[in-house]
């Protein structure tokens, strides 16, 4: 396991971050001074792991939302770095412009050829601004669809990494038909002849997430969230106050476990102890394993069977009562 370097902690993580900092200080001192501190370091590591387990065993939904948004959580670019080989990025929607908020390209995961689609958030401030903090415009959704159709033509499965607060709400986005392109993507993805696996790796922000997320298999990382509306947006509507977001996160039932129990996602991928942001290698490797396992299941199916099952999967989602006619 790699060294966990201290990460800027969220409030509830402060005790962990504190211990992590002391551990790395001791390690640095031990190395530079040739003093053997391994006993003390081991003891601190044990304490720190205990703390991690204790804190992460009782996360609230709102805390999970914070982890899903953690600045050091692996982004699609990290997945490309760690688990995609031979990546060949492809840009553009051939209609308006290249949307940096969507990344797409050819690559390999394991031995499989795949088309990578993902929401790009960016790491540096200029990057983040460039891709609107992961909020795609209509051209982004069209770009994704263009690459998906291309993949379909050559029989290449599609792997979609979802991580967006939502589709961008702006004047240009509406002028260019945000609602219409998302709808078109849902319509088209329903009939794609190649396997589609989607993974929510961070934020699953409503229609903007679903717009690249209609798939044969929908997976979620343990501390990601997927919601019809952001907790802040929900709180603003219900209590006219975005600061009630933590209450909203509770009632929206947006965690991976909730959605697994609802049958809306197919699998929850466990994160390393104390979150994906502490160990990119381990996180991306678990995701790789899950992607390949699901592709192994859906890829051998006949095209018609797979599309039939995809339709049946979505057809079955919904909860209601019905009084059936008597006789």
């Amino acid at each position: 396991m790699e060294h966990s370097s201290p990460v800027p902690g969220l409030e509830f993580e402060a005790p962990i971050v504190e211990l992590e900092e002391r551990i790395s200080e001791l390690r640095a001192f031990s190395q530079s001074s040739d003093v053997d501190l391994s006993g003390q370091i081991d003891e601190l590591v044990r304490k720190c792991d205990e703390k991690k387990r204790a804190i992460y065993a009782h996360l609230t939904p709102w805390q999970r939302v914070q982890i899903a948004r953690h600045p050091q959580r692996p982004l699609v670019s990290d997945y490309i770095k760690w688990i995609v080989s031979d990546f060949f990025e492809l840009h553009g929607d051939q209609a308006y412009r290249d949307d940096p908020a969507i990344v797409s390209g050819l690559g390999r995961i394991g031995d499989r050829r795949v088309m990578i689609i993902g929401n790009r958030k960016g790491k540096t401030t200029p990057e983040k601004i460039d891709c609107n903090f992961g909020c795609a415009h209509p051209e982004g959704y069209r770009k994704a669809m263009r690459k998906m159709r291309f993949a379909e033509k050559f029989g290449i499965p599609i792997v979609s990494f979802i991580n967006t607060p939502g589709a961008y709400p702006g004047i240009g986005a509406e002028e260019r038909g945000q609602a219409f392109v998302i709808a078109r993507n849902l319509f088209e993805m329903a009939s794609l002849k190649v396997p589609v696996v989607a993974i929510v790796i961070g934020e699953g922000g409503s229609g903007g997430a679903l717009g690249i997320g209609l798939a044969d298999r929908v997976l979620m990382l343990e501390n990601s969230y997927y919601s019809v509306i952001s907790p802040e947006g929900c709180a603003a509507i219900l209590w006219k106050d975005a600061s009630h977001a933590s209450r909203a996160a509770e009632i929206l039932k947006l965690t991976s476990q909730d959605l697994l129990s609802f049958g809306i996602v197919d699998e929850v991928i466990a994160e390393p102890l104390a979150g994906a942001h502490r160990d990119h290698a381990a996180t991306t490797s678990s995701v790789e394993e899950a992607i390949l396992r699901h592709l192994d299941e859906v890829a051998p199916m006949g095209v018609e069977e797979r599309i039939e099952l995809r339709h049946a999967k979505y057809r079955a989602i919904g909860r209601f009562t019905e009084e059936l006619p008597v006789g």
């Binding site: 709400p169 004047i171 929900c234």
Partner: protein, 283 residues
């Protein structure tokens, strides 16, 4: 995304509830003029001065579009449950009970078979009185069954959308997934050669607009309707600027190439009859 409680504030251009003063005259919320009430009603609840289209109920809509007494409701016993046990200021269950009692409806859309100008169709109509016509599991299910029924009967499917709420927040991800479900159903239907006419009324937003409502072979809209993805207030807060006048209106959507045609309410039936006669000629 929203809920009944997010109703746009008074004074908004696309105000939803139009108080009808009792008496012979009413003030139009589109042009602020006093107009003769019976004239408004005669025109299908449209202002004779400025052509502002007020809300109408699903019954009224069906009466305006269908051949007399031809509509027969299907799937009418589908009712919402509360899968999230959603409790905010009031519980979802309580809100459902209240709105059912108040409106006599049991959900936000009605689906059934009907004839329009003699052509048999499957028709769905959302009703703004029921939680702003928002889409939860039942709306998604009724829509999807309507599409399947149209497919089975070889009829066109027509849906009149009017959903300020978009996806219904109270059902969380179940609501969001209705976008996928309805869009996938339309894909199948379309693949089989089915005709879907989407009619957009004020307002059609969010998850409804970003799924089935946007997927018509022909997309018609009533004038001056609010049509789009993100609510104007959300956009305003995001960009920290005022929105241009007419932003997200039917006319704006026509200008930007997203809808096929704007049709006045009193001409909708005729427009449908012409389209159906052309696209589904009767033997």
């Amino acid at each position: 995304m929203s809920t009944e409680e997010s109703r746009p504030r008074e004074g908004s251009r696309f105000r939803r509830r139009k108080e009808m003063p009792t008496g012979l005259w009413m003030r139009c919320s589109g042009c602020s003029k006093m107009v003769y009430k019976s004239l408004v009603l005669e025109r299908g609840n449209v202002c004779p001065e400025c052509n502002f289209h007020f809300d109408i109920t699903s019954e009224e809509r069906i009466r305006l579009l269908c051949d007399p007494d031809s509509f027969s409701e299907e799937f009418g016993s589908l009712e919402s449950v509360d899968p999230l046990e959603f409790v905010a200021r009031r519980s979802y269950r309580e809100r459902l009970e209240q709105v059912k009692e108040k409106t006599g409806l049991n959900e936000a859309c009605v689906v059934g078979t009907a004839d329009i100008g003699g052509t048999p169709v499957v028709l769905g109509v959302s009703d703004p009185r029921f939680l702003m016509g928002s889409m939860g599991s039942v709306v998604g299910e009724k829509f999807t069954r309507g599409v399947d029924l149209a497919h089975e009967l070889g009829r066109p499917f027509i849906f009149v959308s009017g959903s300020g709420g978009g996806a219904r927040m109270d059902e969380g991800m179940f609501s969001l997934m209705q976008m996928a479900k309805t869009s996938a159903a339309l894909q199948r239907f379309s693949d089989g050669g089915g005709l879907f006419v989407s009619i957009l009324t004020n307002p059609t937003m969010g998850g409804a607009m970003a799924s089935f409502a946007a997927l018509g072979d022909v997309t018609l809209a009533e004038p001056k309707s609010l049509i789009g993805f993100a609510g104007p207030n959300v956009i305003k807060q995001t960009i920290k600027a005022d929105l241009p006048s007419g932003f997200q209106s039917s006319e704006f959507n026509l200008e930007h190439g997203f809808i096929d045609r704007i049709v006045d309410r009193q001409d909708l039936r005729e427009a449908l009859i012409r389209l159906l006669a052309y696209l589904c000629p009767q033997a």
